[in-house]
């Protein structure tokens, strides 16, 4: 009952924030006009373009990004049984950054500049996605050999640090214009995801979330640790591979299309735990997805009102939550000893 009430409230809040996000922007458009534009009743071409061409895709992107990043954070915290696990710790964000850096700062940037803005952005996104996937494949291969989650976590951090160093070298060697493009990508943006890319992002998010729901029972068993999960009949290795696949789909795609979105993946699962007070992943997953969507929409609204990059907003919103969680429940983190 409690869970149903929370889910109901969450859905209402999500719809409200989605509407608020559509109403927010530099152009002053009345709610009735926004509604007319959405329904195809508006005569003003510019309004239709702003609402359907800019604000709607951006709001959908914010929603998808919030869901994806939060759910992948929850997945990693569950798999590694570590409250501080997230895309960054595993080196996924670094892998994506390397892909982007190679694309923007390296050899390919010259070629990409000549191909026009659409292909340039798609090339950048694709490279970042490949980088993220490559890191996860490496970690996954290592996990097959090692089998110890803590070692894999440390390996991910080492890999991330190594990749960051390579990116720094690339930055040092690149020219001013390329460096600026790259820095803008790292700030994160929800505004460049339209058409086909929005479709891919939607598909990846749905696929990732569906995998998570199918894994629900096994994720619950993993809460107790791999020995308990295995002796309860779970194929731990297979489950781990599915979790990795969901992470590539969720976290990799978002990092590729929107740039690295900081701290939402780490903070939102903790917020959800505080709200539902239930460790059951089958309850926690939908709540995390809802919570992630709401917070990302909030961040987008704040970013629009204050005209600052959305990644700065997510960090400013996320970091206090993480710090608060650290202070509040040091004893109750899901760790074993």
């Amino acid at each position: 009952m409690r869970e149903k009430t929370i889910t109901g409230c969450g859905v209402i809040l999500l719809i409200t924030l989605f509407a608020a996000d559509l109403l927010t922007g530099s152009a002053d458009i009345a709610p009735a006009e926004v509604w007319n534009a959405l329904c195809g009743l508006s005569a003003d071409k510019q309004t239709v373009l702003i609402i359907n061409g800019i604000r709607l895709p951006k709001a959908v992107t914010a929603l998808l990004a919030g869901i994806s990043v939060s759910v992948s954070g929850l997945l990693m915290q569950t798999l590694f049984r570590n409250p501080l696990a997230g895309p960054y710790v595993l080196g996924i964000s670094s892998g994506a950054s390397l892909g982007a850096a190679v694309c923007v700062l390296g050899v390919s940037s010259g070629i990409l500049h000549q191909t026009g803005p659409v292909l340039e952005t798609a090339g950048l996104a694709g490279a970042a996605w490949l980088g993220a996937a490559a890191v996860l494949l490496l970690i996954s291969a290592a996990s097959r050999k090692i089998g110890d989650n803590t070692v894999i976590l440390i390996l991910g951090m080492m890999l991330g640090a190594g990749i960051d160093a390579v990116v720094q070298i690339l930055q040092f060697l690149s020219d001013e214009q390329s460096l600026k493009s790259y820095i803008i990508w790292t700030m994160g943006s929800l505004g460049h995801v339209t058409g086909l890319r929005l479709g891919i992002m939607g598909g990846a998010t749905i696929a990732g979330v569906v995998i998570c729901f199918i894994l629900g029972k096994n994720l619950n068993l993993l809460l107790l640790g791999e020995s308990y999960a295995a002796t309860a009949g779970t194929d731990v290795r297979k489950t781990r591979h599915w979790i990795f696949l969901a992470t590539i789909l969720l976290s990799g795609t978002i990092t590729a299309f929107c740039g690295p979105i900081g701290f939402i993946g780490l903070a939102v699962p903790h917020l959800s735990r505080m709200i539902v007070r239930n460790a059951d992943l089958r309850v926690l997953l939908p709540c995390t997805a809802l919570c992630g969507g709401c917070i990302m929409l909030c961040c987008d609204i704040i970013a629009k009102l204050s005209a600052i990059p959305v990644n700065a907003v997510t960090s400013l919103v996320g970091i206090p939550v993480v710090v608060w969680v650290l202070f509040r429940s040091r004893k109750t983190f899901p760790v074993s000893f």
Binding site: I214, G216, K217, N220, L221, L223, L224, G225, S227, Y228, A230, T231, A232, G233, T234, D235, R273, V276, R277, N278, A279, D280, R282, S329, K331, T332, F333, P334, V335, S336, F337
Partner: protein, 239 residues
């Protein structure tokens, strides 16, 4: 019930136990004793199917566990490890119900029957009143009882416990060992538990498996020579 056929266990070149044979039967409580590093935990993990022996086989009810699927093994053997897991906001009732995993479908949704078995498991270990409490609020003794309930809910003929009495005070240790004794005699379970508390092993168990060097010595706990044999293995006088 569970039989070790010429098992050798160890890591790489290091052999912990070589060519050991032993049997534990239905309704029998077996205490696994031995010095630190003698291979108690490894043996339990091998019996649970978590690790493979270097050679030899483990059979349960006549079936070699090598030939069983993970789910089939999970329906034959339950495992409770050493140490403590803390999961915030996980209610004892839900933790116990996790034991039903090998019997539920892919969603893990519990049937009425699954719920009844979980509730009964909580009842047997005397934790019915704690069902709605969260596991991170438990004392070590209460935690052990809930973990026993979880293993009991798994409804397996063989139950393995790695040091269930560690971190407990003397009354706590006796209480936990008493529950295990009851599960063996009243529920007909084949229970193997490792312990450093030799007094408890001799008092509560039916059988003692002493790990001595790379061998295993299986003895009746009530036999007069058992205590002496353990003392000599531990290099101490009298227990």
């Amino acid at each position: 019930m569970i039989t070790l056929n010429n098992i050798t266990i160890g890591y790489g070149r290091k052999i912990l136990l070589g060519n050991i044979c032993a049997t534990a039967g239905k309704g029998e409580l077996t205490a696994l004793v031995g010095r630190n590093g003698s291979g108690k935990s490894t043996l339990i993990r091998v019996l649970a199917g978590l690790e493979k022996p270097l050679s030899g086989t483990v059979s349960i009810g006549g079936a070699d566990i090598e030939g069983l699927s993970k789910k089939e093994i999970a329906r034959c053997v339950s495992f409770t490890g050493t140490g403590r897991v803390r999961i915030p906001d996980l209610k004892c009732r839900d933790l116990t119900a996790l034991g039903r995993a090998p019997w539920t479908g892919w969603t893990g949704i519990l049937s009425e029957h699954d719920r009844d078995i979980s509730e009964r498991a909580l009842d047997i270990v005397g934790m019915q009143d704690y069902a709605d409490r969260c596991m991170d609020e438990m004392s070590d003794g209460e935690y052990q009882k809930i973990m026993i309930a979880r293993a009991l809910a798994q409804d397996t003929p063989v139950m393995l416990f790695d040091e269930p009495t560690a971190f407990l005070d003397v009354p706590g240790r006796h209480q936990i060992a008493g529950i295990l004794e009851r599960l063996a005699s009243e529920e007909g379970k084949c229970i193997i538990f490792s312990t450093h508390d030799i007094g408890i092993a001799l008092e509560k168990a039916d059988k003692v498996w002493l790990l001595d060097g790379d061998r295993i010595v299986s003895m009746k706990a009530s036999a007069p020579e058992t205590a002496g044999r353990i003392s000599s293995a531990f290099g101490i006088d009298g227990i």
